[in-house]
């Protein structure tokens, strides 16, 4: 393979405005061939707008979008070799399941018999062969979901766009579909672009994730990057649960920032570029990377007292009050129960951090 294998999708300085309202502010990103790529963000962040621009339902106000190296702006949706799985599925209610799946192939010029044969194979792939003759309204939500998927995959698009396709399903089905989607992507080798506001869904399925907020790209990376090394407050807060503490930096010594927070607690953590002595910044630390001890452990140990233990199944969530400082959430795996890491409410304890768990963030 040549090194210049073009990206599946390349968005270059794309801007989208509706009148005075800017939905997307100069986005640039590349989506690789055969990648499971997720656009993640709260509602109104512009992720669906970007998806619809790729599909051809919205035009690009400024900038350009390339599909395997070719600019696609100006092509109507029916001339773009991308297919969409819609949020509400948009299955044609007057057509049977088989004819729904065959529709794209027929519109592409395949003969009716051939389209139906290939549609049948697609239904087999999503295990719905026995429902081929039914109308979409006679299927359950999960089955409709799979028909929508089969319909969009049948014409073998170069890129498959998925617009929050799992949001209407219940939790159990959603988990099963997450895995099924991931397997389908591997089997078909088609590039998937998945839009969701559910960070857990994004972390589970994606090769890479673009976190978006108010029309801007916040961070792009794989699940670990985004979870463990959030680049700003928004990402740290939006992805997973975290403790965000206001800290002041006293000094910086060989890449380590020595900080203090309310109540006089001192702690040391890896510094980042923008931080200097005297700056007031935020410290983000994940609840599962904190643990309690009865006596101070080596390194960072903050004096606190236990307020409450909450049993949440696999984990125990503990709320502690730092002496003279804010509240902190700690998550302990249930299997750790024997390790004397759970204390009764009111017990004086020390909060300890795993090495490298704390991350400084600038506004």
């Amino acid at each position: 393979m040549s090194l210049e294998q073009p990206n599946a999708i390349e968005v270059r300085n794309a801007v989208k405005r509706y009148g005075d309202f800017t939905a997307l502010k100069t986005i640039s990103l590349s989506i690789k061939d055969n990648e499971f790529f997720t656009l993640l963000g709260p509602s109104g962040c512009g992720k669906t707008t970007l998806l619809r621009m790729i599909a051809g339902f919205e035009d690009v106000t400024e900038g350009a979008i390339f599909l395997y190296g070719e600019e696609i702006e100006g092509l109507p949706p029916h001339k773009r070799p991308v297919n969409t799985v819609f949020q509400n599925y948009a299955l044609f209610p007057h057509k049977t399941v088989l004819d729904n799946v065959a529709f794209g192939l027929q519109m592409r010029g395949n003969s009716k018999a051939d389209a139906r044969k290939r549609a049948g194979e697609m239904l087999e792939l999503v295990q719905l062969s026995q429902f081929a003759g039914r109308k979409p309204s006679q299927l359950s939500g999960g089955q409709q979901q799979r028909v929508a998927l089969a319909r969009a995959l049948a014409p073998q698009p170069k890129v498959l766009l998925l617009d929050e396709p799992l949001s209407a399903l219940d939790l159990k089905l959603r988990k099963a579909m997450q895995l099924e989607l991931k397997h389908l992507q591997r089997e078909t080798g088609i590039t998937f672009i998945f839009v969701t506001h559910d960070q857990e869904e994004a972390l589970t399925m994606s090769d890479r994730i673009a976190v978006m907020s108010s029309g801007e790209l916040q961070q792009l990376g794989d699940a670990r990057d985004i979870y463990e090394r959030p680049c700003n407050m928004f990402v740290a807060d939006f992805i997973g649960e975290t403790n965000l503490l206001d800290v002041s930096v006293d000094r910086i010594e060989s890449g380590q920032a020595i900080c203090h927070l309310g109540g006089g607690h001192a702690l040391t953590c890896p510094s980042v570029e923008e931080v200097s002595a005297g700056s007031k910044v935020h410290l983000s630390v994940r609840p599962e990377r904190l643990f309690l001890t009865a006596t101070p452990d080596a390194g960072n140990a903050l004096k606190a007292s236990v307020r409450e233990n909450i049993f949440v199944g696999t984990d125990i969530t503990t709320l502690v009050d730092l002496a003279g400082g804010p509240e902190i959430i700690i998550r302990t795996s249930n299997s750790e129960r024997g390790n004397q890491r759970i204390f009764d409410p009111g017990t004086p304890v020390y909060v300890n951090m795993e090495h490298g768990a704390a991350r400084l963030l600038v506004d």
Binding site: A55, P76, H78, N83, F86, A90, G104, M107
Partner: protein, 269 residues
């Protein structure tokens, strides 16, 4: 159930008012239907059950006149309803799928204005219009007038139906390589069909029983069923008029029933 107290059925006088309204609406129709089966030649005296006036409609001295009038009425109603439905379908597509365009509210007003304007005004205006351009009155003038005033009646059920169809269906079709035209004919049109059928039947009924406008724009000697009935009544009401009226009523009920069934089967599927 606490909200039962607020159920409209428990309001004082609800039953009485309902029965009164139903009586005023339907009693005359029932009287006409019953007396159409009267054996007597007088419309006021009951002399026993008979179909003789129905037979009279088809074979009696006035049968030729009624037959021509009925044929005119049905031909006009079918053509007028078809064309009005086609125009209304296009209008509804533009109004519902056209996005925001200037004068949209005005366009809607223009389409539905004929429903608000007193029919006699439309009738006089249409007559003056045909006269001023020197258009000879006859079947064609009736047809043109009927097409015009049937449009809003066809438009309402079609646009109501269309508003209920999410535009993601057409987007999905276009996403799956259908051109705009194919998305319209293969997806949108079949989904609109129940609305189109309802619109057609409504326009058909409205055209079939129109009297005022027809009476103004018809040429001398050209009759539709309503004008023929009116002409016959002027010479005194005979029981055969009741028979014709009852048949017309039955036909209208049938149309409404079909329209209802079409919209119902669609909801259950």
């Amino acid at each position: 159930m606490t909200h039962k107290r607020y159920d409209i059925k428990s309001y004082p006088g609800f039953l009485q008012i309902t029965l009164l309204c139903l009586f005023v609406l339907y009693a005359p129709l029932i009287v006409v239907a019953i007396y159409s089966l009267n054996a007597s030649a007088s419309i006021a005296v009951w002399e026993g059950f008979s179909f003789r006036w129905y037979v009279d409609v088809f074979t009696g001295p006035e049968s030729a006149k009624f037959k021509t009038a009925a044929r005119n009425s049905f031909v006009i109603a079918i053509i007028a309803a078809t064309l009005a439905t086609a125009i209304a379908t296009l209008a509804a597509t533009a109004m519902v799928r056209g996005g925001k365009f200037r004068l949209r509210a005005w366009s809607f007003g223009l389409i539905s204005l004929p429903l608000m304007v007193p029919e006699i005004v439309t009738a006089v205006a249409t007559l003056i219009f045909f006269n001023s351009i020197g258009f000879d009155r006859g079947l064609l003038t009736i047809l043109l007038a009927h097409i015009a005033f049937c449009i809003p009646f066809a438009y309402l059920p079609i646009s109501a139906r269309m508003q209920g169809i999410e535009d993601s269906y057409e987007q999905a079709a276009q996403d799956l390589y259908a051109t705009k035209r194919q998305a319209f004919t293969k997806i949108l049109l079949p989904l609109m069909l129940p609305g189109i059928i309802s619109g057609f039947l409504l326009a058909f009924i409205i055209s079939l029983d129109d009297f005022i406008i027809t009476n103004f724009v018809k040429g001398a000697g050209v009759e539709t069923l309503p004008t023929a009935i009116f002409g016959a009544v002027k010479q005194g009401i005979k029981p055969n008029i009741m028979a014709i009226s009852t048949m017309l009523l039955g036909f209208s009920v049938l149309m409404v029933l079909i329209s209802y069934l079409v919209s119902r089967t669609d909801k259950t599927s």
